[in-house]
Symmetry: C3
Subunit: 343 residues, 3 copies
């Protein structure tokens, strides 16, 4: 529960609300159509304007332009960017308890590891020799922090995150459960009798304000490092191979795979389940649709896509058959061209 | 080891077996062609009928129609649905020891968590404040149950499952190792300097008799809940985004990704590695082939597919080249049409 | 730090180096262009020959043919296979501390489990009844080894690996963090009211020198075993279904999915994100490009591929539209053929 006064202060809003309006208690955040009394909502897309005029929310974040659509009894909070304002106040309604800066007695922390102030370490976490955990860091239950690894200020590793030896996580990062940072890259030399493993001596180095989703894996470099620059957001179940570089502010959606040594530029968007071959160079600002099959680099910002969207199964079967006959169709076309030319 | 008598009782079979037949000791379950004495098998598909007549199994589950194909010395157990009968008796041959309803002394259970009767909690599991674990639940080693989360009667979380705070698992569910239920959804507001994370205040709510495979992740909702209805079966390494809904009895095969707010209907089958864009609505009874790229919703039950199956690499290269020339082929065709029209 | 003498001995090199050359201290391994004094590098591809002639490395692994390209002051170490030589010496530069053969006191090891000599068991690992851990095995922190499971000599399970009951890992294997070996296969019999789970009574059996990447899952067999033969290398986030067989020396790249009962031959290469339908038979030596959609088996070695690589989004949209019109294009072509025939 939080007052509108607190929320507007957080948003640095200079709105002319009456004392009674400011005192309104907001219990939760809700979507426009399901919001009721004591709830705040937001309008971030023109297409929901109609819903706004019927909302039962006590207050709504809107642009100046849309404010007049607010119904009677609903307080319009005018902001430049309602979606960002919503993001900012969402944290008042987070349901998780604040995590105390306490080292759980069951955590096993090597005597040569270094912990900053106000660090929280959950039950059964293991922190090895030479690891450096900065101020305000939260290490969840069952996490493993390898030797000489480091975590920057105010970063949080949720439950059972693996941060392998010598790897680096910057400040204000969030890494979710099951993520494995710094596992060995997939490097083997072929021999006559089998595969000879190559020691992976690089690290995984992660910048500041990076978010890494559940069960994502980011392998350590073979010789040089695998690098995730600052402000990158990475969803769940993504596989990033050794020596990959991901440029700042890039967004990587779930289940993407990026093969070794590929460099993704800054400000890119990588749609879910896309796959990148190794050793590619992707230009800043490249946007890939979901399930893209990326076999060549890009040299300029732009929208890229591949694949044929799903359709009715019978139509699909016919389409595949026709595609397989394209070679023949081309020959038929050529024959026709020649024949009609002769005429 | 179990007698045929016990098995037929389990199946509620009213077959006229002699006392000596009923006393037959069955040691294990096997496929028709590898079964030997003391083993039971089943015929669930017409195409294996020939194998049936040569089986060395001591007993076989068959339909009435196929019973006569059983060879000499092999007892035919006539059932309506041999595959289901096989499923039912398979549990007699499970190799895992029965798990005792014991709380391992190393489990860390908050004093304000509530545990029902006959609960088993494995070593190093962590159960936080306000969590509610119902009767007969099994929590495996290294599991993490967040505050206020709940697990319904007779559900089992295998080893190292994460169930985040406030999330709900129904009754008789099975969740396999490495699954992460209720991690934060991928929600960020863009700002000039980077991505502002949105608190994910919804939950993940899972119905009854739901099965969730190893290393699958089901994110919590942004505002409302992510919902998996009862009787849904979900394979390994599946990614279900925030606010997705999956209708009852739907089957989701491995490595599928479902982006935020998409609603999958009831009784659907989602082939492995398929990907769904966000905010789609998929009709009840939709069946998607593996690797489907689903960019639009469906309005009726049916079979849907996408993609071109793998082929010989040289053929594939030609095909891709031809597809890239389709625009030109169409122009050539048009030119021909005009030219021949003039004739 | 290691002397060239040690390295050349390791490589069994009979090179005529002077005493002072042999005494050269090598501090690290580096790529040709970033190497400096005290560093060793290698040339494994003709295309980097130009870089070789400008390298600042103290020593370089090269073939006899390329030795003359080594610049002044750089010692050429002539070997048959520079990449393999690099692989062999890479381990001298590994940054991880040697793991002592110590059983951490917090590990919970059943009194009926059997441990060989020189075994290392990390903190909070759990090893159940009847498990057999051979000599020289390393079990990382938070690992779970189920009852009757076994791990062969000198294999290493990194942190939080799950090896389920009765499953078998051979000798000299490496399994990385988050892998789940032997989870139940996805087997259910349909009933009128829902899905009836089938007990998965097979095992997962893994040969010698197999490598399994982070967060990969290999399900146990339904009746018979899931089998990974010796010398197979498996990357991260791969899903191998029940009763799959993978032949020796096969390489499986990240995020591949292989559905139940499919048999992959020996010496195959499976590109990343490829998906295999169930019950296929793939010939020895089959090579699949990344993102292959494999719906039929192969009967001979060869290169196979599928899918259309990503392209500019506008071109892609036109291409998809044209593909959807192929049926009509074919009709137009046919009409033309008939019309011009009549001429």
């Amino acid at each position: 529960m939080v007052s509108l006064k607190t929320l507007t202060e957080k948003l640095d809003l200079k709105v002319a609300l009456s004392e009674s309006e400011l005192a309104t208690a907001i219990q939760s955040l809700s979507s426009l159509d399901s919001a009721g009394e004591g709830e705040i909502s937001f309008l971030s897309s023109k297409k929901y304007r109609r819903v706004l005029s019927a909302t039962k929310a006590s207050a709504v974040l809107v642009t100046g332009e849309d404010a007049e659509l607010c119904p009677e009894g609903c307080i319009a909070l005018v902001v430049d960017d309602p979606y960002l304002a919503f993001a900012k106040i969402s944290h008042y309604f987070a349901t998780e308890s604040k995590i105390a800066p306490v080292i759980h007695p069951s955590a096993i922390i090597d005597s040569e590891a270094s912990l900053g102030e106000n660090v929280s370490v959950g039950p059964y976490a293991v922190i090895e020799k030479g690891a450096v955990i900065a101020d305000g860091v939260i290490i969840g239950a069952h996490c493993f922090i390898g030797e000489q690894a480091s975590v920057g200020r105010h970063s949080r590793l949720h439950h059972r995150v693996t941060l392998a030896h010598h790897c680096v996580v910057g400040e204000n990062c969030q890494i979710f459960s099951g993520a494995v940072i710094g596992s060995d890259g997939f490097g083997y030399a072929p021999t006559e009798t089998g595969w000879y493993p190559i020691a992976q001596i690089g690290r995984t180095v992660i910048g500041d304000r990076v978010e890494i989703g559940a069960n994502t894996t980011i392998d350590r470099g073979a010789i040089d490092d695998t690098v995730i620059e600052s402000d990158v957001i990475i969803d769940n179940q993504i596989m990033i191979g050794h020596n990959v570089k991901v440029g700042s502010k890039t967004v990587v959606v779930a289940q993407v795979g990026i093969a070794g040594s590929t460099e993704i530029g800054k400000n890119c968007t990588i749609g879910g389940q896309s796959g990148f071959a190794g050793h590619l160079k992707i230009a800043d600002g490249s946007f890939f649709a979901g399930q893209s099959m990326v076999t060549k680099g890009t040299t300029q910002a732009g929208y890229y896509a591949s694949g044929i969207p799903a359709q009715d199964g019978n139509e699909w079967r016919k389409m595949v058959a026709r595609i397989r006959q394209l070679e023949k169709m081309n020959e038929r076309l050529k024959a026709l061209e020649e024949r009609t030319k002769e005429d």
